[in-house]
Amino acid sequence: MISSEGPTFSVEVSSGEVDAGAEMTLKAKASCSPAADLRGQALQIMDQDGALVERAELTEFDGESNETSEFAVKAPVEPGAYTWLAVCPALATAGPSSEETSAPFSFTVKPHSTRVVVWDVPSTIESGETFSVKLGVNCSGECRPDGWTVEVRDQDGERRATVTFGGEPWPATSALYYAEVELSAPDTDGLHTWEAKALADDLHLPHAEAVASFGVRVVPAPECLLMVVAVDMESQTPVKGAKVVVHPYKTFTDERGVAEVKIPKGEYRLFVSGKKYFPFRSDGEIKTNVTIKAELAVDRELSDADIWT
């Protein structure tokens, strides 16, 4: 809490920084000498222009000082530093030693922090193909997305798409609003770094801009078929759902324990792992269609029973 104290009157603000247009929580404390029960007396919150923003009431008295309960005040929309005033007229008439009837308090209004999330980017895309990604936007004030715009720019800064948000949050999130966008892959092979940028110009409340980078990997057309057969090393039974990674290609084995990956010729490192298995690794060069049997060892290198009595 931040406190601006006069000798007999103070105001606490829940945080020195507050999002534009968001609610601040205040609590005021007033006392005088001799002590007086000022419950029921009003106090006023005045903004930097002297305009009345909010009223509150002193509701608690402990024999020495009076307090309000916590009350909410809406912060200004415009970012910047502010000093407001809390005024308690009752203090002026409460006794001969009452000196202060108002107390300034300061806070800073900031634009809403914004986050951009990019997911479901395919791990490989062939040149010229279209692909889709999901974009999510979220702000510190959990604002609804109406009016939010996200631009997607490629490695050369060219704008590839503009997305306007609306609708509901992504499942299992509280305020991450999402959209799906279709994009075209670059013409050249390789890993390209693209950006998704949330634009804040047209929003009702000020928001900071936010950028998220994501990789777009363009690969040449496949030339070979790599078939992976994953089995349990001990039982030799197929392993369904094992993760197959031949960077940058990724897939999972099916109910037969089989995964098929179409890839260009070249040197590769194959990992097969997941579920309860340690990673199986195989390095080599693939020049033609090939089948690799991955015998997976169960993760019990050192079980609890092995170690702990």
Partner: protein, 695 residues
């Protein structure tokens, strides 16, 4: 939920012929000519007891022949042994129930030297009750053991483990000689006290490389829980519901059919509850919620040990505030005064565990583990008083010597990163059902060693610090049949052979990555003088959850500050900072770390920690985002009080402290993991404690 009242026929009531109750203590004590001081005093018959020497100005509240601090592995064994030899025995324990960590252990008891279970399996025989119906796991020659071979194994200077440490070189010779000689007798002792053993399979850590010596303890599933009959209900065993344990079994018992036969279940419950049942049946008395504090000695650094002081350490249910009750109550003394003084007419046995739960004490071995965020195992089960170094502290105050102080670092897995995430009590899988579950509120998610490829691990400021997949890896245990430490595996191992530690071989077999040490490093964000390591976090996304099937719901995780979910990485970092009790600094680097990680995934290469060499890498991109705590658990304590072959505590001049014994993890100088050490210590201590002259 099964309680004691559900099976009154199987309560360990003292047998009229064999056991003693409080009144019988008085009668027997007087009849045995113990004199005016031979009464067991209690709150209803309290008398001031004033003896001859200056120290005996002490006003005693209770007395017994043998007073034991700690009702776990070593303590219960010592109690029963002393009782068998005719002593009155009083055990104090800081917890609300007996068993210590033995109760939640895997019950793997590694003894040997030609013990009864080795002999049984060598002959291919079953046990006396006919429960063991599977064939032996080991060949007869792997079980053909003797005391000399056992002693040679556990003092073998030449054995070096894959961490480059020597687990046997620094063992105290007299201590481990006595241990080896008493292994067969202790095995038989346990069997005589309702403990049933599976087939032997291998040997446990620190138990030697030449022969198979370890068996687990089991019970048979049945219609009722009856220790005498060797049966337990599925409910009591925690087998009826995969998400429930029971007041009887804090950890669900495991299927032991492969090492026993159909319907066998195993873990520390089969060992601890059996011994407890026998102890209560034989008339051992217990004072629970009672923390051992101080040793009372005739003079501060000389003279006989006269007894102990013990403080009230109530454990209350975290939700109701009610005093927790032990599962069985027979033999319990309900004493609630703040401090009591208990006189030991013959001996005090310190069996209150080690120092793993005391960050200040364990920090002498590894300053990075002064970090209170990292607990000992069994913190929920035993409470903050578990493994609190009480014996070590009290022993030093009366002049006790120490032994094996470097051995915390020479056992490969004393402290380790656990694969159970999302709970502070990361050693066990305790589920709701046991009264102490409320102290942890989540069972945790056991991701396994393989699961570490599914997330990034970050330190207290949100930076990665090691290849994740190397973090949970632990070096081998250097126990039969060997685990890449010794060049000869199984029967091919040659004890006392210089080739076991030839440097070329050590270079070849060295297999330790020091990820744990990176985790404990003095981390950015720490400020003098408190250079804490800080909490560790596994950070991952919704894709990881769908790949793995991890259950991110109660009872595996809960809103207890060890599991977090958020819309964005930034929000995740903010939640951790706000709600984790040991998060002293913000995870300010976490968003950058995740973005950098994702770029490494896209590139297929991790230039910082070479993760790409070990396992596939996965983007962290699909919301929502998650964080689970990664725990470093200090489990075992090595290094403690010095004792001789009779478990008598020895002082700094090499002299025995009369009347003071110690066993289990309170003792140093024996780099053997687990129950086998504690049981034999207790057996030896109980045997010799009753030989002390009675005062």
């Amino acid at each position: 939920m099964a309680t004691k009242n559900d099976h009154p026929g199987n309560d360990p009531k003292p047998e009229n012929e064999k056991g003693l109750n409080r009144r019988d203590f008085v009668k027997t004590g007087v009849a045995a000519g113990l004199g005016a001081g031979g009464a067991l005093l209690g709150p209803y018959e309290a008398q001031a007891q004033v003896g001859a020497s200056s120290a005996e100005q002490t006003v005693w509240d209770y007395e017994a022949d043998v007073v034991i601090a700690g009702g776990g592995c070593a303590g219960l064994t010592a109690a029963i042994r002393a009782r068998d030899l005719g002593a009155s025995v009083l055990v104090v324990d800081q917890n609300f129930d007996l068993g210590g960590r033995m109760l939640h252990s895997g019950a793997r008891v590694s003894l040997g030297g030609g013990d009864a279970v080795q002999l049984r399996d060598m002959k291919g025989e079953s046990d006396d009750e006919g429960f063991v119906t599977v064939d032996p796991s080991e060949d007869p020659e792997e079980l053909d053991d003797n005391i000399e071979l056992l002693f040679t194994d556990i003092t073998d200077w030449s054995v070096v483990d894959p961490k480059g440490q020597s687990p046997y070189r620094y063992n105290e010779r007299e201590l481990v000689r006595a241990w080896a000689e008493n292994c067969p007798a202790t095995r038989q002792f346990l069997m005589d006290n309702y403990v049933r053993f599976t087939r032997i399979s291998g040997t446990h850590g620190g138990g030697g490389l030449s022969r198979a010596r370890a068996a687990q303890c089991f019970l048979m599933l049945g219609d009722r829980t009856d220790i005498r009959a060797g049966t337990i209900t599925a409910e009591d065993a925690g087998r009826a519901d995969p998400e429930r344990t029971s007041p009887f079994a804090p950890v669900q018992m495991t299927n032991a059919s492969r090492s026993v036969g159909p319907n066998a279940v195993s873990n520390g419950v089969a060992l601890s509850r059996s011994l407890e049942f026998s102890a209560r049946e034989k008339g051992v008395e217990f004072m629970l919620h009672r923390r051992f504090d101080e040793i009372v000695r005739e003079e501060p650094f000389s003279g006989k040990v006269l007894g102990i002081t013990a403080g009230y350490s109530p454990r209350q249910h975290p939700d109701t505030g009610e005093l927790l009750q032990s599962f069985w109550q027979n033999g319990n003394i309900d004493e609630r005064r703040e401090t009591v003084k208990i006189r030991a007419r013959q001996a005090v046995v310190l069996a209150s565990g080690g120092h793993a739960g005391n960050p200040e004490v364990r920090g002498m071995f590894y300053p990075g583990l002064r970090e209170p965020a990292f607990p000992t195992s069994g913190r929920a089960l035993q409470g903050p008083g578990g493994q609190d170094a009480a014996a070590l502290i009290a022993g030093l105050k009366v002049g006790a010597n120490l032994a094996g102080m470097q051995q915390n670092l020479s056992y490969g897995t004393t402290f380790h990163i656990t694969t159970r995430l999302g709970t502070r009590e990361a050693y066990t899988s305790m589920m709701p059902g046991h009264p102490t579950f409320g102290f942890r509120t989540s069972a945790g998610v056991n991701v396994g060693n393989a699961g570490f490829e599914e997330f990034i691990a970050v330190n207290q400021v949100g930076k990665r610090f090691f290849s994740e997949v190397r973090l949970p890896r632990r070096p081998g245990l250097n126990a039969y049949p060997g685990d890449r430490g010794a060049p000869g595996r199984g029967l091919a191992h040659t004890p006392l052979d210089w080739r076991n530690c030839r440097k070329e071989w050590v270079r070849e077999m060295y297999n330790y990555d020091h990820g744990l040490d990176a985790a404990l490093a003095m981390n950015e964000g720490s400020e003098a003088p408190d250079y804490y390591s800080g909490p560790l976090w596994a950070v991952f996304d919704q894709d990881a959850v769908e790949r793995t099937g991890w259950e991110l719901r109660y009872p595996y995780v809960s809103d207890n500050g060890y599991f977090f979910q958020a819309d964005t990485i930034e929000a995740l970092a903010a939640k951790i900072e706000a709600d984790h009790e040991f998060q002293r600094v913000p995870l300010s680097y976490l968003p950058e770390t995740v973005a950098t990680w994702n770029s490494y995934v896209d590139a297929g290469e991790d230039p910082e920690f070479e993760r790409h060499e070990d396992a596939p890498m996965n983007r962290i991109a699909t919301p929502p985002f998650y964080a689970l705590s990664i725990m470093v658990i200090w489990h075992d304590s090595y290094g403690g009080l010095r004792v001789n072959g009779r478990q008598q505590v020895v002082d700094m001049q090499g002299q025995v402290i009369p009347g003071l014994y110690a066993g289990g993890e309170a003792v140093g100088g024996f780099n053997k993991h687990g129950l086998g050490k504690g049981h034999v210590h207790g057996y030896i201590a109980g045997t010799h404690a009753v030989e002390e002259p009675s005062s």
